[in-house]
């Protein structure tokens, strides 16, 4: 049987969900027989090609995140999101309590250790969105694995369900938000 093609991406995130995925340890060997990871921070391949399953970690925080989310959505049949940031917005949304200007000023000019700071404004740097959003407010999401990070068990459950041809919904006893 041909391997299921998977691409993953992280947006505004800490990489914790991908670490949790790697924490699958020996279960990874079994998965490696069933799936092929194409573009991913793990393979360091950045351009998406069409895949069966796209996986996103992290919230949508700037225009780059938005573009990556849309590109991956366009290239996958099923989009799964990992972690509280992607599912709900999570810790990244703390900045939504302030305006974009306030945040940038605080970070680049007013921090106690900064002298003569200025807000970066190069074309190459993707501008922040006004608000940090969960992925489902930008593209259609098919399944969710919350957790901060989701446990390896939760990730394993979700991947296994997908391989069995079902859209996973985490059972209550595996679901965690922390």
């Amino acid at each position: 049987m041909a391997k299921v093609k998977v691409a993953t991406a992280w947006l505004d995130a800490c990489a914790g969900c991908h670490m949790s995925f790697l924490d699958l340890d020996e279960a990874l060997i079994g998965l490696a027989n069933a799936i092929e990871i194409t573009a991913s921070p793990i393979t360091d391949i950045k351009e998406f090609s069409p895949v069966d399953v796209g996986i996103i970690e992290g919230a949508v925080s700037n225009t780059h995140d938005e573009e990556v989310a849309k590109k991956l959505r366009d290239n996958c049949k099923i989009l799964m999101v990992w972690g509280d940031c992607a599912c709900f917005g999570g810790i990244c949304t703390m900045r939504n309590l302030f305006s974009k200007e306030e945040i940038l000023r605080r970070c680049y000019i007013e921090t106690e250790s900064t002298k003569d700071g200025k807000i970066p404004s190069l074309e190459d740097i993707p501008p922040l969105l006004e608000q940090v959003k969960p992925v489902n407010q930008v593209v259609k999401v098919d399944c969710y694995v919350p957790g901060c990070p989701p446990s390896s068990k939760a990730i394993h459950y979700a991947l296994t369900e997908l391989l069995e041809g079902r859209i996973p919904i985490l059972p209550s006893e595996i679901m965690r938000f922390d």
Binding site: D84, C87, F88, G89, G90, I91, T93, N96, L97, F98, Q131, P134, N136, Q137, V141, C143, Y144, V145, P146, C148, I169, L170, P171, S172, E173, M175, R176, F177, D178
Partner: protein, 654 residues
């Protein structure tokens, strides 16, 4: 009440008229999810998690506020209801900050548990991200409005159980906030810091700021024990993880004796005073030096042999009966002096003398009523007592009576009104004239015929004291009108409770106690064979110690040597200056303090959580306290030390 029969989920179940649908579901083990409901509080239908379908109702209704009727047909779980519940959860999550990863309550949160139950892995609505204040300036509590779901459990527990009425909703609609008084910071409000709201809060909106992140309920062992702080004897639920106290909760928060005070809930957790972890003996240079337990015990034993009769013993009444009895035996049999007292023994001698004058050969403290009587009272007189600082839960009961039963509250105190927000009448007799006032009151009651005739004969004469009303008014400075008003309120009350305490006992006048008992007696304020009189007792086992006969009093004006079994109690300035006059002082204590530094021998002692035994509450209930923490560093129990000393003297103590 009449039985009613309902059909719930196709099954016939029984309930009582007056029950809500939720109550009947719970009584019949039918699971209905709730969030704003807390057993023992009124229901308000704020969260709508408990919605159920009822035949002939056009829309789902909250089970918690729906009165059950005979013949109702109820469904608690349908596809539509489950969909609504999940939708309600999603709306709650979008309303404020409910991101769990940086919340103290994560793992113990009812909102989070419900979200897991409904497998809420995403939210379909935009979040509102309001920026709400956090109030962290009170001593123990933090209110983080960002975590609040406006269920109102804190507000209801604050008014219905603690009767502090500090918390309430302020503002309107989605801007609604829980606020203290008129949106004062909690620390500057009428909040009594009892922490009932912390326990009632289903989320991380109100929490205890010092014990953050120490452990989740699931990770803790829960041990039910008794609060060592005062005579009320509240039941505590101690949560322990790795031999550390993580949290103290009220096991029956909404029952009369259920709520805790700041001492029971918080202060017991924060002992930062250095512990006595090694015996100390005063060396040749006059400095306290660490030594083995054997050597310390030897020094005490030798001194005991020399001093014998001159050796007295004083013990704290935070200590359970078993050790009290052993200490009593130690002083009377091993030491042989029988010169023994408790730290609060003087109070007892006044109270017991007062009771004796009222009713010789009676049943002593057994004449006093249980503190639950306060909740039934329609008149409460507080004379020379400050329940808020001495026995805060008594104060809670008084507030509850006043706010829920319109009980008339009368405070008699020369210097201050101890219930400033609650008192109906505050009488300020001149200092020292309380006795005359009580006699005057008795006289007015008799004159107005507000007494039980058969009880107002010979024994009354003594307490009236022969004062004329004019004299009473002149001596006390209280107007005749006020006297008459109080006499009417108390005399006509169905259930009048008198509470007295330390301030009154400071007058060292047993006849004041007699006068109070007399007042209750002539007005028929009796429940069974008890009078509706309550004396406040300062320590968890004051009554136990007194009834065991430990408050005999020190025989000598200045004993040659003294054994002070202090345990985890701290002593006041007055005792310190008396102790300075003693030649040889043995202090068995849990903490280093000015007393241990003036001692000749210091012995270690467990704190309340490290011992077990029986306490007797101020109203005579026998309570079993459990050991919550293991003693560290091989520290001995008090019993072992007393037995060792006795052995050195060739005596068996058991």
């Amino acid at each position: 009440m009449n039985d009613i029969t309902l059909t719930i989920n196709g099954k016939q179940v029984k309930g009582k008229a007056g029950n809500t649908v939720l109550e009947i579901c719970q009584a019949n083990s039918i699971d209905v999810p709730t969030l704003c409901h807390l057993d023992g509080l009124s229901d308000v239908g704020a969260c709508r998690m408990c919605v159920v379908e009822i035949e002939r109702e056009r829309r789902p209704v909250p089970a918690c506020t729906y009165p059950a009727r005979d013949g109702l047909v109820v469904k608690t779980s349908t596809e539509r209801l489950e969909r609504y519940r999940r939708q309600i959860l999603e709306l709650i999550f979008t309303e404020r900050n409910h991101f769990c990863m940086f919340c103290e309550q994560s793992g113990d949160c009812e909102l989070q548990k419900l979200a897991y139950r409904y497998q809420m892995d995403n939210v379909r609505y935009p979040y509102t991200f309001p920026s709400l204040p956090v109030d962290s300036l009170s001593d123990y509590l933090v209110i983080d409005h960002n975590r609040c779901i406006l269920c109102g459990r804190c507000i209801r527990v604050c008014s219905e159980i603690v009767a502090s009425h500090t918390l309430d909703f302020g503002r309107r609609g989605w801007r609604t906030l829980v606020g203290a008084d008129l949106e004062q910071p909690l620390g500057e409000s009428s909040c009594v810091s009892c922490g009932a709201c912390v326990q009632a809060c289903p989320t991380g909106a109100i929490f205890n700021k010092i014990n953050l992140y120490k452990g989740k309920t699931d990770e803790c062992q829960q041990i039910k024990t008794v609060c060592p702080a005062c005579g009320v004897g509240c039941e505590l639920n101690a949560l322990v993880k790795d031999n550390n106290l993580v949290r103290i909760e009220a096991p029956r928060l909404t029952e009369p004796r259920g709520p805790l005070c700041p001492i029971g809930r918080f202060e017991l957790l924060y002992q930062t005073t250095p512990r006595v972890i090694s015996p100390l003996v005063r060396g040749k240079q006059g400095e306290l030096e660490e030594c083995s337990l054997d050597r310390a015990v030897q020094v005490v034993a030798e001194r005991l042999k020399e001093t014998k009769d001159g050796f007295a013993g004083i013990i704290s009444t935070r200590i359970p009966n078993e050790i009290l009895s052993l200490f009593n035996k130690f002083i009377s049999e091993v030491v042989g002096s029988g010169s023994i007292d408790t730290l609060d023994g003087e109070s007892y001698r006044i109270i017991s003398e007062g009771i004796k004058q009222f009713q010789n050969n009676g049943k002593g403290l057994g004449i006093e009523c249980p503190i639950e009587e306060i909740l039934k009272a329609d008149c409460i007189i507080v004379v020379g007592a400050d329940p808020e600082s001495a026995n805060p839960i008594v104060s809670t009961l008084v507030r509850r009576a006043v706010s829920q039963r319109k009980t008339k509250l009368i405070v008699i105190d020369p210097s201050r009104d101890v219930f400033p927000l609650w008192t109906d009448l505050w009488l300020k007799p001149r200092v020292g004239s309380e006795g005359v006032l009580l006699s005057g009151l008795t006289k007015v009651l008799i004159d107005k015929g507000l007494v039980v005739p058969e009880k107002t004969k010979a024994e009354l004469v003594q307490s009236v004291g022969g004062y004329g009303i004019g004299e009473v008014v002149r001596t006390t400075g209280i107007e005749k009108d006020s006297l008459e008003l109080i006499a009417e309120i108390y005399g006509q009350a169905e259930c009048g409770v008198i509470i007295y305490g330390e301030e009154l006992l400071k007058r060292h006048d047993a006849s004041l106690v007699t006068a109070i008992l007399n007042l209750a007696n002539i007005t028929g304020n009796q429940v069974g064979d008890k009078l509706r009189v309550i004396s406040l007792k300062p320590r968890a086992n004051s009554r136990g110690a007194w009834e065991l006969g430990l408050a005999k009093g020190i025989k000598q004006d200045k004993p040659k040597a003294l054994y002070l079994l202090l345990a985890d109690e701290l002593v006041g300035e007055e005792l310190l200056s008396w102790l300075r006059r003693i030649d040889f002082l043995v202090v068995q204590a849990s903490y280093h303090s000015p007393v241990t530094s003036m001692a000749d021998v210091v012995l270690p002692s467990p704190i309340w959580a490290e011992r077990e035994g029986k306490y007797v509450s101020m109203d005579g209930r026998v309570l079993e306290s459990k050991q919550v923490l293991q003693l560290k560093d091989g520290l001995p129990q008090d019993r072992e030390i007393l037995i060792e000393i006795s052995k050195k003297l060739g005596r068996e103590l058991s």
